[in-house]
Amino acid sequence: MNQIRFLEPRADVVARRDEIRAGLANLVPADCLVTEERELVPFETDAFTAYRRVPLAVVLPETTEQVAAVMKYCSERGVPVIPRGAGTSLSGGAIPQEDAVVVGVSKMARILEVDFENRTARVQAGVTNLRISDEVSADGFFYAPDPSSQLACTIAGNIGMNSGGAHCLKYGVTTNNLLGVKMVLHDGTIIELGGKALDAEGYDLLGLVCGSEGQLGIITEAVVRLIAKPEGARPVLFGFDSSEVAGACVADIIAAGIIPVAIEFMDKEAIDICEAFAHAGYPMDVEALLIVEVEGSDDEMDAMLARIIEIARRHNVKRVKESQSALEAAQIWKGRKSAFGATGRIADYICMDGTVPLGQLSHVLRETTNIIEKFGLRVANVFHAGDGNMHPLILYNVNDPAEAEKAEAAGMEILKLCVDAGGCLTGEHGVGIEKRDLMLHQFSETDLNQQMRVRAAFDPGWMLNPSKVFPLDLAMRKAV
């Protein structure tokens, strides 16, 4: 499945490779520049591994000023730049190209300030997501967005993709927890947006930057919101006889005015895979599982759970299992959070990320099954049900080109299904290259042209992550 195109490498840039590498060497310490072919290999792709491109060079600066110098240099010489965090993007957002310099923030990984009174943390952009929560945990705080990849992924990448996680139902995604950034524009200009205040002045450029997939600048620092940890948290498992009934139960919980911290969904295939891997104690005799997490004191959680259990009973829930200890709770989450990894052990997969209105969950699950059957494939559904963010994992064998092509085709049909159901192509993984060519299914060309004009306000020469997000043959691309 190698039909997704990249822009043609700029021949003049590739031809000046040695000169450019030498120029970069003047701007950063020697251990911050990677040019050896062998050492460039780890940067040739991200977690969307079907596509690979070896970059011209990789720079791993230690300071914002070094980033600025590199950007200025690249801008003056017409060299494309690919911003990179930890390279865990599932949509190919961090995959480089032959004429590009990767600017990675992995060496900028310090927590600069935690401020409990104002409930903020100022961090360098290369810090990993989990590091922040670890740092403030002993003082009773956490950073809310919790992508399953949180051990590895960086705040920079989270901002790039506006990442979410299981607990976003209550606490929101990255954009709702981000107060400020320091970033470097294409020409090396350093700007700051937002800060410790809750509202920024002027246009909400911070909101625009979040989720912009590395197209507007290189983020080097961030101010994020910290939240006081709840008194306690308890995940509960609810097993159902069918996916549709589980979906209907989710809709009823929400309609009853109850917003738990998380409502995660797994179908039979996903339960089998995750249980085999994590021994989480999931019930094996059900067709669909909900993990519902509630928070508060013991009494509060009991009261909230009583309400939820009553709703689940109306939907003939087959199994209800409360975690009895912190260890059990951790096992339950381990199973869920390792879903992608566990799936990867039994087959190759591609992970879809469409989001649909809650009322459409059952319909979309049913149609997903139909699409998968039509292609003769297998699918494991594991997703954030409370906010309608679907993650069908389509299983296939990467060494079987025909099957790989089918998997990709099925994925595209599923995403179109999500859009047609009133949803969108991607809830948290980003467009990257993966969904780029489907953008015209969700947007009109006029819509995309408007987005591209705004993009050009930041990057007039189209130098930052140029092959991503917008279909390559749109006329606007050439106009700028």
């Binding site: 509202d199 909101g207 709840p230 954030h384 949803g423 969108c424």
Partner: protein, 407 residues
């Protein structure tokens, strides 16, 4: 003053007006209910485009927690529909008519365009966080869709956030989709009397550091507390919302965690709701014409900013958002002490100050919105041009060009 008022009955008609205006290099003022006309840099537009006929809820299925409405829909109509389904806009938009002395009908499009959020901002996010999708007409008269009706969406650039808080300078919003939430079953407020502004800030910070899930944290010095009707002396106000049993449990937790918490008064729902509505609507400073600043800073900096300004200028302040939102009313009618206010903000770690109310002459002579660092201002201007290349909309509403008006 603007003369002709155009009232398109459809998005297409509005787009046609905008195309025609752009073609002849004209300008338009966008008016929702025009209740906030007095906000922003005074500006002149050839004609006014009224949203009055672009009104009505287009899609609302309570189980989906999303409401879509045409941008000219009165806020009251939306709140009524939500109330019927037991839901609410979590960001708690206020009614600023008392503040601005206007008596029009506030519209949902203006709530989005002005990014208006109330006390629950600290726990549930701002209007911009609740805004999921928009349709708008850009300055070239093209209809643009962005975002959607789903909670999580990273498909393309987030122009929704850009439109929120743009004060009608980037495009004409024609339809907005907001996330909605179940109304809280009940609420209660703890009132701690007698704290200084600085002790009040510490108390609010301490409260927000507990697991009590405080959804409103405000501090009113004595004179303001009196107008809010919360008893004698200053009042530090902490709101808890949720199911009744949970609110009761958390009240106990909060009392235990705060110095003086044991003796704090407790306002039940019947008093708590109207109290927070007053705070949301900035009622203590309504009905006056004195200059009023809305200052957004780090929560612990709010009381310092107010103290620095009030040392030299007569006036009063109160604090919402755990202290991070300062409403500062000044007696100075010459220039609203703009330089002093902004210097205080800068000294206390930065943020911004918007002159929400002032006589027109004052608004002509000082920047109403916070001046930005040069590169950010330049970037913002490029973004504006990307949406409204001909400068059709609300020309100059957010930008200060010096006291050119007299000319």
């Amino acid at each position: 003053m603007t003369n002709e008022v155009l009232t398109p009955a459809s998005e297409e008609e509005a787009a046609e007006i905008i195309r025609e205006t752009a073609a002849k290099a004209g300008t338009l003022e966008i008016a929702g209910g025009a209740t906030k006309r007095g906000i922003g840099q005074p500006f002149e537009a050839d004609r006014t485009l009224s949203m009055a006929k672009l009104s009505g809820i287009t899609e609302y299925n309570p189980a989906e927690l999303v409401l879509t409405a045409k941008a000219g829909t009165p806020v009251a109509e939306i709140e009524a529909a939500l109330a019927e389904a037991g839901q609410m806009m979590a960001f708690e938009p206020g009614d600023w008519r008392g503040l601005t002395g206007a008596n029009g009908v506030p519209t949902i499009g203006a709530v989005a365009a002005a990014n208006i959020s109330g006390p629950r901002r600290i726990s549930a996010g701002a209007a911009r966080d609740g805004l999921l999708g928009v349709r708008f007409v850009n300055g070239s008269g093209e209809v643009i869709r962005n975002g959607g009706r789903v909670m999580k969406n990273v498909t393309g650039l987030d122009l929704v956030k850009l439109m929120a808080g743009s004060w009608g300078t980037l495009g004409l919003l024609t339809e907005v989709s907001f996330k909605v939430l179940p109304r809280t079953e009940t609420e209660a407020t703890l009132v701690i009397h007698g704290a200084t502004d600085s002790d009040g800030a510490n108390m609010m910070a301490a409260a927000l550091q507990t697991s009590a899930e405080v959804s409103g944290a405000a501090h009113a010095p004595e004179t303001v507390a009196k107008r809010l009707g919360v008893g004698a002396g200053s009042a530090t106000l902490l709101r808890l919302e949720g199911f009744a049993d949970s609110v009761a449990a958390r009240l106990d937790r909060l009392r235990a965690a705060l110095p003086g918490g044991a003796d704090a008064d407790e306002l039940p729902e019947a008093q708590s709701r109207p109290l927070w509505a007053q705070i949301r609507d900035v009622a203590p400073f309504a009905g006056s014409v004195s200059p009023l600043w809305r200052i957004s800073v780090a929560p612990m900096a709010g009381h310092d900013v107010a103290a620095i300004v009030l040392r030299d200028v007569d006036g009063e302040a109160f604090f919402d958002w755990q202290g991070g939102l300062v409403w500062l009313q000044l007696a100075d009618e010459s220039d609203a002490s703009a330089d002093r206010v902004r210097a205080a903000v800068a000294k206390c770690g930065g943020g911004h100050a918007t002159l929400v109310r002032a006589p027109e002459a004052v608004r002509r002579s000082v920047p109403v919105f916070q001046p930005q660092a040069a590169p950010v201002a330049a970037l913002s201007e490029r973004v504006r041009t990307a949406l409204d290349p001909a400068g059709v909309f609300n020309p100059g509403r957010m930008v200060f060009h010096g006291s050119r008006k007299a000319a």
